[in-house]
């Protein structure tokens, strides 16, 4: 509607020009197999790169792997539950030692006698009843 080529003398008409456009449209360059392969290879590369970045991001979010030696030690001790039990026992022992050192020393060095006839345990050799319980005064003096 804007062109008036057909009214201009010496110029190609709209019809002729449109016929040329149609011919040009038909002559669309077909991509070679090589080009298609290159484009697809690019797509693969971009996808692989993206997947690698995603994997790196996920692994950065994950807790770090333990050293293999540490892993072997934990396994030898029976796994994390056993290690947790050992740690608890260790801490408890430390608390006893710090809290009532004399008690621990008496228990470790004294002799223990059991009065089976009475069905109760008594301290004939060196233990008093206080030795078996943490002393308040000991706790106070030890801090």
């Amino acid at each position: 509607m804007t062109d008036r080529d057909d009214k201009r003398t010496g110029e190609l008409t709209d019809v002729a020009l449109n016929a040329l456009f149609a011919e040009a449209r038909e002559e669309t360059a077909l991509p070679s197999g090589d080009l298609m392969a290159r484009v697809l290879a690019d797509a693969e590369e971009v996808m692989a790169q993206r997947e690698a970045e995603e994997a790196a991001r996920l692994s950065a979010m994950r807790p770090k792997q333990r050293h293999p030696v540490m892993e072997a030690i934990i396994a030898a001790l029976g796994g994390w539950r056993a290690v947790a039990g050992l740690a608890t026992a260790g801490v408890a022992g430390l608390a006893f030692g710090l809290g009532a050192p004399t008690t621990v020393t008496a228990l470790a060095t004294g002799s223990y006698v059991s009065d089976s006839a009475l069905g109760i345990e008594t301290s004939a050799g060196g233990y008093e009843i206080d030795d078996l319980m943490p002393s308040f005064y000991d706790l106070v003096t030890e801090g």
Partner: protein, 194 residues
């Protein structure tokens, strides 16, 4: 998934699928869009090897933008046409090293006049005349009359108004008609009644 099953899937849906790691979507998009972009670039640059490079580069940019593609903002083909247009413009600027609207002298003495070569000749003549148009006119005419896009889409690709597209295509067609007039006989249009 077989490629046939993807025939009815939109470009955008395929691109999003590719962004999510779907290799079949990449194949479908390659088959669908690469020929279009190559054809456009070849018409623009008149150099097959360069056109292939441009088409590949445009597709590579498409692959890279896939995960960040914003749905509904633009058509994939429109986006690609814009990328190809820009890549071609850059190449021509580097190649020619001259002003954008500078018009080259038309080529003289078209080759072979054999009848079997007539269509080839006509298309060659059109390509040459298109190549001699100012850049924006050439882009608008090719996108409108050869690629068959609508004016709003062309406006989006060229980042201009629809009115500007209409003006460019009208002026481009007029310039083409004038440029090709001298080759009327060679082109086989001597009896077209004008």
């Amino acid at each position: 998934m077989p490629l046939d099953a993807l025939n009815d899937v939109s470009d955008e849906a395929l691109l999003i699928a590719f962004g999510n790691g779907d290799r079949a979507a990449a194949q479908a998009l390659t088959m669908r869009l690469t020929p279009k972009m190559l054809g456009y670039a070849a018409r623009y640059l008149k150099d097959r090897a360069e056109a292939e490079d441009v088409a590949q580069e445009a597709m590579l940019r498409l692959w890279k933008i896939a995960p960040d593609w914003r749905q509904g903002e633009a058509q994939v083909s429109t986006w690609l046409y814009r990328v190809v247009t820009n890549l071609c413009t850059d190449r021509l600027r580097k190649k020619r090293g001259k002003g954008l609207d500078e018009i080259a002298e038309p080529e003289d003495g078209r080759p072979s006049q054999e009848a079997v070569m007539m269509q080839r000749q006509r298309v060659d003549a059109l390509q040459t005349a298109l190549g001699d148009l100012p850049e924006r006119q050439r882009e608008a005419v090719v996108l409108r009359h050869i690629e068959g896009l609508g004016n709003p889409e062309i406006a989006e690709i060229l980042d201009i108004s629809v009115e500007a597209v209409e003006s460019l295509t009208a002026r481009g067609k007029r310039a083409l008609a004038k440029a090709l007039a001298s080759q009327r006989e060679i082109l086989g249009f001597e009896n077209d009644g004008s």
